[in-house]
């Protein structure tokens, strides 16, 4: 039982992190028509810059400053490079961000080295947010914070802690997205952005600086990625490979959710986050399933490498399988509106 609760929460927190990332990507894509191939690289930058600031001044300043720095870098990139290729079309824009992803990767390795760095969460976030204790008499009890090791060492007692970092991840993600939604729908700048999406010339003739708005949007998107980086980097691991591992998943999220749809990205992120987290924790294979149903598996079946695969081994490819299925049965994406 507690496995399901904890896994669910872990899955949701991972999904929210994915959404934090893919929302920035969707925002940039909706507003500018550019799919930012380097989005995960900005995520990585956020983690590393957050790490460096944390080394100097502490985690909390890092949490606030790193996303701003990353956002500024993103805006700078837009101004210097993306703007120049805008007139060539969408494919060159994609290629430019593709090249950027290589460059960021190399620069990160240049400055911080090729091995992982120890980006640890702050004191306040170490340890569990709460612990579920499964007593020997089969009752479930929840304790805030950590539970003493004597309790957990008791016979028949299972302690399932839920890390504070994960809880913090969920909190920040939700806060950030609420803020974003409010910004887009309630403020003047948000309305301008929404207008510039479909009628850029009109907005420009009304006196607004549309290129500057687009630069801000790109910066905001990458800033979100940077924020996700600080949190993700301190919760998981901060290493040069982190951009690659999460990068392809967020593209899957965006396509599965429907390109240009924020709500679709939300749904897809949660779905993929939860499914993958559950899958990683389950060590069941097809053979197990068959045997559960009371069928005796032959020796040949048992040796078959495909049927032997456990769910946890298959977990890495689940998002991509999902992608293929969506493309076959619902090519528009879950909630897609706009044709890419």
């Amino acid at each position: 039982m507690e496995f399901i609760i904890i896994s669910m929460l872990n899955g949701v927190s991972y999904g929210l992190l994915l959404f934090l990332l893919s929302s920035g990507l969707t925002l940039i894509f909706s507003m500018m028509g550019v799919l930012n191939f380097a989005h995960a690289s900005f995520y990585m930058l956020g983690a590393y810059i957050g790490y460096s600031i944390a080394q100097l001044v502490g985690f909390w300043p890092g949490l606030f400053v790193a996303p701003l720095v990353v956002g500024a870098l993103g805006a700078l990139f837009e101004r210097l490079t993306l703007r120049k290729v805008h007139k060539f079309g969408h494919v060159p824009e994609l290629l430019v961000t593709f090249g950027l992803s290589y460059i960021i990767l190399e620069l990160v390795q240049l400055i911080w080295g090729r091995t992982a760095v120890e980006f640890v969460p702050p004191e306040a976030l170490r340890g569990p947010a709460f612990t579920l204790v499964h007593h020997a008499n089969d009752t479930l009890e929840m304790f805030w914070g950590a539970v003493g090791s004597e309790v957990c060492a008791g016979a028949g007692v299972i302690c399932s802690p839920f890390p504070a970092t994960r809880a913090f991840m969920m909190l920040v993600a939700v806060l950030m997205l609420v803020a974003l939604w409010l910004l887009l729908t309630r403020t003047r700048i948000g309305l301008i952005i929404q207008a510039a999406l479909t009628h850029p010339e009109m907005v420009e003739s009304l006196g607004h600086n549309v290129p500057r708005v687009l630069m801000l949007v790109f910066g905001a998107g990458t800033g979100l990625a940077g924020l996700a980086g600080v949190i993700g980097g301190s919760t998981f691991v901060t290493e040069p490979n982190m951009a690659a591992t999460v990068g392809s998943v967020i593209f899957v999220v965006v396509v599965v959710g429907g390109m240009g749809s924020l709500s679709g990205a939300f749904l897809a992120s949660l779905l993929i986050g939860v499914i993958q987290t559950f899958a990683v924790g389950l060590d069941y294979s097809f053979i197990h399933l068959v045997e559960q149903l009371g069928v005796q598996a032959s020796d040949a079946m048992r040796e078959n490498s495909v049927l032997k695969l456990t769910l946890s081994q298959v977990a890495p490819i689940l998002p991509y399988l999902f992608l293929v299925l969506i493309l076959i049965f619902r090519p528009k994406g879950l909630l897609g509106t706009r044709e890419g």
Binding site: L100, L110, S248, Q313, G340
Partner: protein, 430 residues
């Protein structure tokens, strides 16, 4: 743009000359560059040329940006390797020289399988789908160890049975000539493809997919067919690779290799048929030579790519053709001085910047070995301010002068282009 778009010079004589030259180069290259390293590199170049040309069927001819082409070259390699092993065990009576065709058929098969779903969309979603597919296949390669051989990969021996007329394919030079034959044939076939109805309609789909529907063609089917053809040739390249290296590991279907095809095809030039040939050659040079020269080679590559996309999206091929056009109007001599100046200043910037990058890398990786770095025969000291100051000074001055020369050059170039346009108009109306 130059009118020589996908057409060599209109005379058939010109075409015969070009293809004969190509054949001669293929035949005599290993005799000119005779060292073992050179022959290996030439073999790899042949493979890379086929791979990049197959990629350009999608990118340059069809307007389809794929991030997962290595799936088809890689799966072609795997199938070819399995076929080779089966031939070694006597299970399949297939001569080694035909093993790459097995790769081709495998590439075609997987393109048929995956292509239907992949080509349902176009443009950016298509790119994302290819990325997802590539990740899928790569992740599966770690799961199905029978086919993919797990961590160690699948290896084989290209010497099978008795030598036939003295050819055993053991020595690298024999493999090279096999690759050269395949390269010549495949390049010829792919060029012929551009001159068929399907090839031309593919171009039309690239230019204006909506319009194509209104001349009676099913755009998705055109893309699907092109995908299959590209997959076939990709598989052939993969099969040749399997023979050449005698081992196939999971990285042949990896994202890095797909990225490499994209990068170098684009660098060579996607808008001309011969662009990917240049790209393939550069790819091998970069991977084999450049990576030895400096640890920062991926960084330089990324930067070069970035600048290419911004300033020369047609790649090196387009730069060559543009200058050929200028030369054909007799105006090249006006610009060559500016070119020289540009080249020199760019070199200066490169040297200065390179020095700084090397010093940083040294600090990162070899700091334990003292603080001096060998750079172009000089000794730089990464811990002393003097070296840094010198490098920075060189870079910045170089940048400044480069910018000045560039402006001068752009003005001259623009003037030449207007002159050429006027000349063209004059010739048209006369």
């Amino acid at each position: 743009m130059s009118k020589a778009y996908y057409e060599f010079k209109p005379l058939n004589v010109g075409r015969w000359i070009v293809w004969s030259l190509f054949a001669l180069v293929l035949v005599f290259a290993p005799l000119v560059f005779g060292s073992n390293l050179s022959v290996t590199m030439l073999s790899q170049m042949g493979i890379a040329i086929i791979a990049c040309l197959s990629y350009n069927i999608l990118l340059g001819q069809g307007g389809m940006l794929s991030f997962g082409h290595a799936v088809y070259t890689g799966l072609g390699s795997y199938m070819a390797m399995h076929a080779l092993n089966a031939a070694t065990d006597g299970q399949i009576p297939i001569p080694v020289s035909l093993v790459p065709l097995v790769g081709g058929v495998a590439g075609l098969f997987f393109a048929v399988l995956f292509g239907y779903v992949t080509t349902k969309k176009a443009g950016t979603p298509f790119a994302m789908i290819t990325l997802g597919m590539a990740e899928l296949v790569f992740a599966m390669s770690l799961m199905f160890s029978e086919f993919f051989g797990g961590e160690a990969g699948v290896s084989g021996n290209r010497v099978v049975g008795d030598p036939f007329m003295g050819i055993s394919f053991g020595p690298p030079i024999q493999v090279y000539y096999l690759i050269a034959v395949y390269t010549f044939v495949c390049v010829g076939l792919m060029f012929a493809f551009t001159r068929t109805p399907l090839g031309r309609i593919l171009n039309a789909v690239r230019d204006n997919p909506e319009r194509v529907e209104f001349i009676g063609y099913n755009t998705q089917k055109v893309r699907y067919l092109a995908f299959m053809i590209a997959g076939f040739f990709a598989g052939v390249a993969g099969g040749l690779g399997a023979l050449n290296f005698e081992i196939v590991t999971a990285e042949v279907v990896g994202a890095a290799r797909s990225g490499g095809y994209l990068l170098f095809t684009f660098l060579g030039g996607a808008t001309f048929f011969f662009g990917p040939i240049i790209g393939g050659i550069l790819m091998v040079l970069a991977f084999v030579l450049l990576s030895e020269l400096t640890k920062a080679w991926l960084l330089y590559l990324g930067l070069v790519f970035l600048f290419m996309v911004m300033y020369a999206p047609g790649g090196i091929a387009s730069l060559i053709m543009m200058n050929l056009r200028v030369a054909s109007f007799g105006k090249l001599r006006e610009v060559w001085v500016a070119y020289l100046a540009l080249g020199v200043t760019a070199l200066v910037v490169l040297l200065g910047g390179g020095a700084m990058v090397e010093m940083i890398y040294h600090l990162q990786l070899d700091a334990a070995m003292g603080d001096s770095v060998k750079y172009l025969g000089m000794e730089l000291h990464s811990k002393t301010a003097g070296s840094w100051f010198g490098a920075a000074f060189v870079t910045l001055t170089g940048l400044g002068i480069f910018e000045l020369t560039r402006r001068q050059f752009m003005a001259q170039w623009a003037a030449i282009q207007t002159d050429i346009e006027k000349e063209i108009k004059r010739r048209e109306t006369s």
